[in-house]
Symmetry: C2
DNA sequence: TAAGTCATGTAAAAAGTTACATGATTCT
DNA sequence: AGAATCATGTAACTTTTTACATGACTTA
């Protein structure tokens, strides 16, 4: 089992889903911290089923094509619980913008500034997306600090909170970087 | 060319290095934002050379085995510059701890707290490592805000700064999470 | 002489991405 | 009739990891 297995089980543990549903849930919200494409998700579902961690039932629909609804088995839930409470080796850190910044001394300041601003736009957009989700969540759940620890809502709120702080921190650093570059251009 | 190609070129652009040197530089400091193993680095160096972006000379040493010293070619430097000033599609976000947190509602609060603390230790250790590097950098370079934009030192400082802020932000969130869990355990 | 570091690679397997492929149903 | 959404997959390729493999030289 790979992290993706548990990402999928984590989604199924909240509610049964079709592969197609999972495709979208892996975009948002799971994609904010773990991602996978269609070509990885469908085979992984088959693997989970072969391993006895998930099962599916075919659900015919009037207005749409039939779908396979997946849910975790008891063994699947147990495996997920066990994995969740075991500290995991972190995935290697990968930030392509920092790879660029590491060689930023090679390029003209104006280019460096433009690059920084492009990155800033990305992160600002991501932050806005997170804030929209928080807004929606607040409308649905009310005061998030009142959520029970054993509710999926609490878990969603905790991950969202990290996303918000991550983007704010990144943006603060980007502003600092842009200022440092600009400061050496003006005089 | 993949991001790793430019990570390696970025190291070579600062000073010629052997594959073995690059192995260690890919651990630290490059590993803080991009990583690769030996089995990827040596073939990648060969690829860079085949593409005319790097070249090597064999350097015999008295006290140690001979080594291949790599440096970027003019074409390699040009390719690096061009890549650096072009906005890159970000690598997918991957945070295994957040995958766990997303399903944290399934496990006992005491386990959740233990997991959070294990994560906190990791990040605290990483922060200490960054702070030690900052200390060393400060001793070598003096006031970092005086560094010139076109010096590798500036670039190193900028990436380190991001690392420091990332770990501080992560730790702040972990404290918040631990508190939220603890608050529901006590009463 | 054994352990440790310096030094360079390859092989095989796994994980992940891009592109291909198909078909039902609904809406315009 | 064509575009859009729902729905499920596979094939080929690239990237990355894990494990294997070897040898020079130094120090205890």
């Amino acid at each position: 089992m790979i992290p993706l297995s548990y990402a999928l089980l984590g989604l199924l543990a909240r509610a049964p889903q079709s592969g197609y549903d999972l495709l979208q849930l892996m975009e948002e919200p799971m994609g904010f911290f773990w991602s996978a494409r269609r070509s990885q998700i469908y085979p992984e579902l088959a693997r989970l089923e072969a391993a006895g961690l998930a099962r599916h039932t075919v659900v015919p629909q009037r207005d749409r094509p039939a779908k396979k609804l997946y849910e975790p088995t008891e063994a699947g839930l147990a495996a997920l619980r066990e994995w969740v409470e075991t500290p995991q080796a972190p995935a290697p850190d990968r930030d392509i913008f920092l790879v660029q910044v590491y060689s930023l001394w090679l390029v003209a300041p104006a280019r460096a500034l433009a690059l920084t601003r492009a990155c800033k736009r990305r992160h600002a957009a991501r932050l806005e997306r997170y804030e929209a989700i928080r807004q929606r969540q607040r409308e649905e759940d009310g005061d998030p600090s009142a959520l029970r620890l054993d509710s999926p809502r609490f878990a969603s709120w905790a991950t969202l909170q990290r996303g918000l702080e991550y983007e704010r921190g990144y943006l603060a650093w980007l502003r600092w970087l842009a200022d440092a570059i600009a400061a050496q251009m003006a005089p």
